[in-house]
Symmetry: C2
């Protein structure tokens, strides 16, 4: 059963950093790109969110807002669906909180459809209950047509201090659908302290602000014009620059000057036309490792266990392995997360402080804060198997029909052994194919290119040898993805 | 200052499994082979023990007893010293507790020197205080010449239930040296329960049985003849078989039938000629991760920290990283040990139970119980960087002057890229050298050999590709180390 509403668009916010989900999430590969909940085939939180959106709008009416640094990984995940989805990626030069991101998406949408209604979905939330979700969207759509700025509220189960609270005006019902009702908002309360949160829970009637919204684009832009006139003016200028195809660094310079303000604080709390729909689906923003408890499967001792874990007597813990073996004995209320290059151990009660730990890593410029061992590129991905003075070993995966740039290195030679598929190799002036089990040497100072013309992924083991193996020893002659020594976080992208 | 005693020999027991030190120790690479304490250059516990022995005896008078499975790794560690040390390795077919191991070493020693005095040192203990150690050995030597079977006792600091206790007969002093005294033994007490251990500590005068011993070989063999006549008869037969060069599997069959009995229970407790020297050096058998506390450096919060650890607020914990990053938040009295293929998380109070966890792994035939990612061989070592269906990537290190067997694989091809040194390669009927940065392909069904004729280690990256990559796809034509499809724990050794 699919509900269709005319001129409805879904805007998925996929720019978050998910710091507290380290080491599974990284600055360049945040929480929304991970499969945190669900079984095989359910895909990442982003993919689960896209699937949810596609229940209420067609692919061409879905748009994903993300930052330039995460764009490759996001596009790769969207490529499972219709091309329209990949085309509808709106790029923020960098994350500047929700008001700029939503404003940018609104301007993008306005150009396509002046009559648009916009459903905003954060990409890193878990929602369980499709039918209830679609029901809520239908009521939201109805309220949005009346000119309301609609929020969706979650019935609180704990005095959580990590969420904003909304008090609906129960005497002012603005719409009904089945068992659902929408109300005018009495007031918004920013993240309260524990004492107030307990009071709200006891008083009843308050709901958590889910971060999902719905409005007509014209109503939203009117609210921006009234409450954030400086921001919307700057966003319009940036939108024009983007349309004119101005250089990315120039646009980024302007974007960086925008005030980092949330849609809640900057627009919703100031507006008189806000409504809230208290919903009845299971929801979590899985803000920390400990919040997994409410949405992930637990064993009979209350542990959330994933991967190659051998445990003796642990209880109420998150035990998360990716590939290597994790052995645990007698843990209570602990979080253990193991990834190929970094491990976290932390009591559940301290899981908010993982953010502080990641800040410490950032200050040390630790790569484990920024990237995974697996790094995604528009042409595929690579995994560093070993890096030592004098040599580096990578497994490289090139997607069907894709190719790396035509490039050259001054200081390293590269040996490629094809382990799956067939490689079309350019070396100097010759072009030839290298099949599975075959190999080729690319001497230093030799122009070369790696390409997959096959129908299945090409996988090679690359052994680099040389005195200097930095990713910035690269001269790029031609690139399909418009990258000419583009810098991401100070690193050159191969 | 070196103390010399005529006819003195050191016998180092290096056969322990160190199960409770998993994942740093493995069945084939136990605790004594690890650098658990000390700084760079101090080497493994075995190497530290050898160095300690060499303070009181020359290299040719030092012998190491170990099991066949650990022999390669032990010999590799001994090769830093005089060749005599490597020659003096006595191989038990498998570990059968201390009485068989010490008996075997005594028979080996007797053949060299009927007048020998034997200092027994476990390879996996920590001793701090060279001068005090040498002093204790000197007094022990003196008592051994009187015909005593000498033990060394440690002044207890806690009511430890993991050690045997010894009550010296303080009225029967059998020797003195400086501030040290030796006494006849009043009685031996096997590992007591906590209540009794507390009583001993309160009563005073009791000492821990350190597991270090000293005696004349003739006195020891007399005691074996009296208290373990069956064992010594069987050991003499096995010693004769070894001398006659009988097949290893036949000797192993006999050895496996020996009773697994400790020297303490089987000989010392039954003898009337025992003496004890209470010593004053710092000692630990570092039986568990939590015992590291007493011998390893602690930071100001009481943590023992090693490797790439980033911590926020932890206290009294062991935080042990080998290569990858370990991030910890707010841990108290925890043990976190990270190795390239396995991670342990366990409260200190449960560190005895790591043994149970390892038993669970053994039952599952988990390789992480048996071996490290780095595997030692007589010719050097290899490290598995990645193993997936269809391919396996290894870094192989061949020591100067060593070579692998002349071999052939039916189902896999191998690509070698030299990253350090020069490889002498035999491929089919041709022999050629491959230098750093060069590469070579060994097709399947091709006889080949890898050899290092240089003065520095040879390192190569090997990429195996094929449908079947088991270590048992190997035909060996010639091997310098007398291995013809020798099996260790069901696996064929390359």
């Amino acid at each position: 059963m699919s509900v269709k509403h005319s001129h409805l668009y879904a805007v998925i916010l996929a720019g978050g950093s998910g710091t507290r989900f380290w080491p599974l999430s990284r600055a360049l590969f945040p929480k929304q790109l991970l499969q945190v909940v669900g079984g095989k085939g359910d895909g990442s939180l982003l993919q689960q969110t896209v699937r949810r959106a596609l229940r209420v709008v067609p692919a061409r009416c879905t748009c994903v807002v993300t930052s330039a640094a995460q764009a490759d990984a996001v596009r790769l995940q969207l490529s499972d669906w219709h091309d329209a989805l990949v085309d509808n990626v709106v790029l923020e030069p960098e994350g500047r909180n929700t008001a700029p991101a939503i404003g940018l998406a609104a301007l993008w949408l306005l150009r396509r459809d002046a009559d648009a209604t916009m459903l905003v979905l954060p990409a890193d939330h878990v929602v369980k209950g499709d039918r209830a979700f679609r029901q809520a969207v239908s009521l939201g759509y109805q309220l949005a047509q009346q000119g309301n700025l609609v929020t969706f509220g979650i019935h609180p189960t704990t005095p959580n201090t990590g969420y904003g609270y909304i008090q609906p005006n129960r005497r002012s019902c603005v719409g009904r659908l089945g068992a659902l009702s929408g109300y005018a908002v009495e007031r918004f309360v920013e993240k309260p302290d524990l004492k107030r949160a307990r009071l709200f829970l006891k008083a009843g009637g308050y709901v958590w602000n889910s971060g999902m919204f719905m409005w007509r684009v014209d109503a939203l832009l009117e609210a921006y014009a009234r409450h954030q006139p400086g921001l919307i003016k700057a966003l319009r200028a940036i939108d024009t620059m983007m349309q004119a195809g101005q250089p990315a660094d120039r646009i980024a310079r302007h974007y960086r000057r925008l005030e980092s303000v949330s849609i809640d604080y900057g627009v919703m709390e100031r507006s008189s036309r806000t409504a809230v729909v208290p919903v009845d689906f299971v929801w979590s923003d899985i803000g920390t490792w400990s919040s997994l408890n409410s949405v992930a499967h637990r064993d009979r001792r209350g542990n959330v266990v994933r991967g190659n874990v051998v445990d003796l007597d642990s209880e109420r813990s998150v035990l998360w392995a990716t590939k290597r073996l994790v052995g645990t004995v007698g843990l209570s209320d602990m979080v253990v997360v193991d990834t190929p290059d970094a491990t976290l151990v932390c009591p559940k009660s301290r899981s908010q402080d993982v953010k502080t730990l990641v800040d410490m890593l950032r200050k040390r410029a630790a790569p484990e804060q920024l990237e995974h061992v697996v790094v995604y590129r528009p042409w595929g991905s690579y995994t560093v198997l070993e890096e030592q003075p004098g040599h580096k070993v990578k497994r490289i995966c090139v997607l069907p029909g894709q190719r790396l740039s035509l490039q050259m290195h001054y200081q390293r030679s590269e040996h490629w052994v094809v382990i799956a598929g067939t490689a079309r190799v350019t070396r100097g002036r010759t072009v030839f194919d290298v099949g599975q089990g075959e190999h080729v040497l690319i001497p230093k100072r030799t122009k070369h290119r790696l390409e997959n013309q096959g129908m299945s992924p090409l996988e090679i083991i690359e052994v680099q040898s040389g005195a200097y193996l930095g990713e910035d020893d690269i001269v790029r002659y031609h690139d399909d993805y418009g990258r000419s020594a583009r810098h991401v976080s100070g690193k050159v992208v191969p």
